[in-house]
């Protein structure tokens, strides 16, 4: 069953009397508990797609639905992990994670149980009373992921969540997200410009092109991952060495590269 549905989504800007098509006829269905990554060059509108599913932006044509309801405004059933973390600096780790649960009207005892569970799962034990500025970037993003997962949302929307992290931290976070995604499968829409990250994490990869931003190709990763049993490898570098991984990565690289050269002519 499709949980997230992009139906002929269009986004047109008007600037100085000129029409500028940012997104053109985007059609995409994300199935229940499917992890879909959107990759594409900057300016292709991939972040706009995610923000439309979140209700933070709106299409000028077509509709975006989540769980068969047209998205009109942001809400806790569509939890977002932002690239810039967006943790509240004046709240402790615990209070940041608790914030959305209070909106949902969840009783104190249940809140405590859920927060403790996700704080433990994200390796944040002992940092409950710390403030965001006292934590490293990687730790802050763990808090942001816990804040999203704890809501038990219908969908998780991640906007280049590891883009602001250094290379080593990013690898650790990618491994943890894979662990989390396999243990607690959720419907995830993941935006990134890092091809390897997308291949490593996603069940399907949507490759977008720009001017106008539209879907160029959708590539199935899950069947290959399962056939080749990538998940038996714990470390990302072992997976990245597998011929099947290299093949997929190259295929997507070429798709993105074609656009670049096309632009030069």
């Amino acid at each position: 069953m499709a949980i997230i549905e992009f139906n002929h989504v269009q986004r047109v800007f008007h600037q100085n009397g000129k029409e500028f098509v940012a997104l053109k006829d985007v059609n995409l269905q994300v199935q229940d508990r499917e992890f879909v990554a959107i990759v594409g060059p900057s300016g292709c509108g991939k972040t706009t797609c995610m923000r439309m599913a979140a209700g933070l932006e709106h299409p000028t044509g077509g509709t975006v639905s989540v769980d068969r309801e047209v998205v009109r405004q942001p809400g806790p059933d569509r939890a977002v992990v932002f690239q810039a973390f967006a943790l509240f600096p004046w709240k402790s780790v615990w209070d940041n994670v608790e914030f959305g649960l209070i909106s949902l009207g969840i009783a104190a005892a249940e809140r405590k149980r859920r927060i403790e569970h996700y704080i433990g799962l994200m390796g944040l034990g002992g940092y409950e009373q710390a403030f965001p500025h006292q934590l490293s970037g990687g730790m802050q993003q763990r808090v942001a992921i816990a804040r999203a997962y704890v809501l038990d949302p219908k969908v998780l929307l991640m906007d280049e969540p590891f883009g602001a992290l250094d290379a080593q931290t990013r690898v650790v976070m990618q491994e943890e997200l894979v662990r989390l995604a396999r243990q607690h499968p959720r419907t995830v829409l993941f935006i990134t410009h890092a091809v390897e990250e997308a291949v490593y994490l996603a069940d399907r990869i949507v490759v977008m092109s720009r001017r106008p931003g539209t879907i160029r190709e959708i590539i199935d990763v899950k069947s290959i991952r399962e056939a080749e049993n990538w998940d038996q490898h714990k470390r990302i570098e072992d997976v990245m060495d597998l011929p099947s991984f290299v093949h997929l990565r190259t295929q997507i690289w070429k798709l993105l590269r074609d656009q670049q050269t096309g632009e030069l002519h």
Binding site: A54, L56, Q73, P74, G75, P76, R78, A79, V80, F82, A84, A86, L87, F88, P89, W90, K91, F99, G100, I102, S103, L104, F131, H133, Q134, R147, L151
Partner: protein, 261 residues
């Protein structure tokens, strides 16, 4: 921004002392030169002596500290009232465009009226009761609180507002738990300006509509042609003003340290 290299603390203190001593020397010289009578321009030591007497001996009904206490109570009331109205209204204006539209035109016009211009109404409505000075202090202290709350809340990084909406917070929670704390540095900066203006307006108010307070003491001093009394009042005002600002600056520092700025 630092345009010139920082001074070391020894020189810093020396310059402060030099400035103070020069000022006192110029003042003494002017008072001694006989350009005008000593009654019209008292010497620093005349003022110090007068100040010391005002501390122990009642003048215009009360001692200097009693006058100050009475002034400070009015200031406190007017200031707290300005804060209680200004902060919530500023947040509402920043959050709801319609409140902004509703309030802004009137506010923009009223804020250019000097607080002292309300004196006739303060006198008519409240006589010499506490309401008059409080009204005038409120008129002085309210605009900076409102403006700084509004601007601070308007400048809150969009990502926090989006996070708050995404986490399902109601308007009330978004205002009190996101806009308010995010705007606190700007609000506290506004409170410092506001306290300064309120405290200044107070003296103006007491010159006319009061039967106690430092302003009242100064008017009585003028009537008695005791310029040393007037200057003692000025000094007391200055000292209390500095203390208020130092207190608020402390608050500002504590908040900034907690935020890790």
């Amino acid at each position: 921004m630092m345009l010139q290299p920082r001074l070391d603390s020894g020189r810093f203190l020396a310059l402060t002392a030099l400035g103070g001593v020069s000022f006192l020397a110029l003042w003494s010289a002017a008072a001694m030169a006989g350009l005008t009578s000593r009654e019209f321009l008292p010497t620093p030591w005349d003022v110090v002596a007068r100040f010391a007497r005002l501390v122990v001996e009642p003048f215009a009904g009360y001692t200097l500290f009693e006058h100050l206490l009475s002034s400070f109570q009015r200031f406190g009331l007017g200031f707290v009232l300005a804060v209680l109205v200004g902060i919530p209204l500023g947040l509402l204006m920043a959050w709801f465009a319609w409140v902004d539209r509703l309030v802004s035109p009137c506010f923009e016009a009223v804020r250019f009226i000097a607080p002292i211009a309300w004196v006739p109404f303060a006198a008519l409505w409240f006589g010499t009761g506490i309401g008059g000075p409080v009204l005038i202090i409120f008129m002085g202290a309210f605009p900076p609180v409102l403006i700084n709350t509004y601007r601070g809340a308007k400048q809150v990084d969009r990502k926090y507002i989006e996070a708050s909406q995404m986490l399902g917070a109601s308007s009330l929670r978004s205002m009190t738990q996101v806009l308010l704390p995010a705007a606190v540095p700007s609000i506290v900066a506004g409170l410092r300006i506001s306290a300064g203006l309120g405290w200044q307006s107070l003296v103006g108010a007491e010159l006319i509509v009061a039967s106690s307070g430092v302003g009242y003491l100064m008017v009585k001093g003028q009537a008695a042609v005791s310029t040393a009394t007037v200057m003692s009042g000025m000094i007391a005002i200055g000292i209390v003003g500095i203390l208020i600002d130092v207190g608020l600056r402390r608050v500002q520092q504590v908040i900034e340290t907690r935020r890790g700025v």
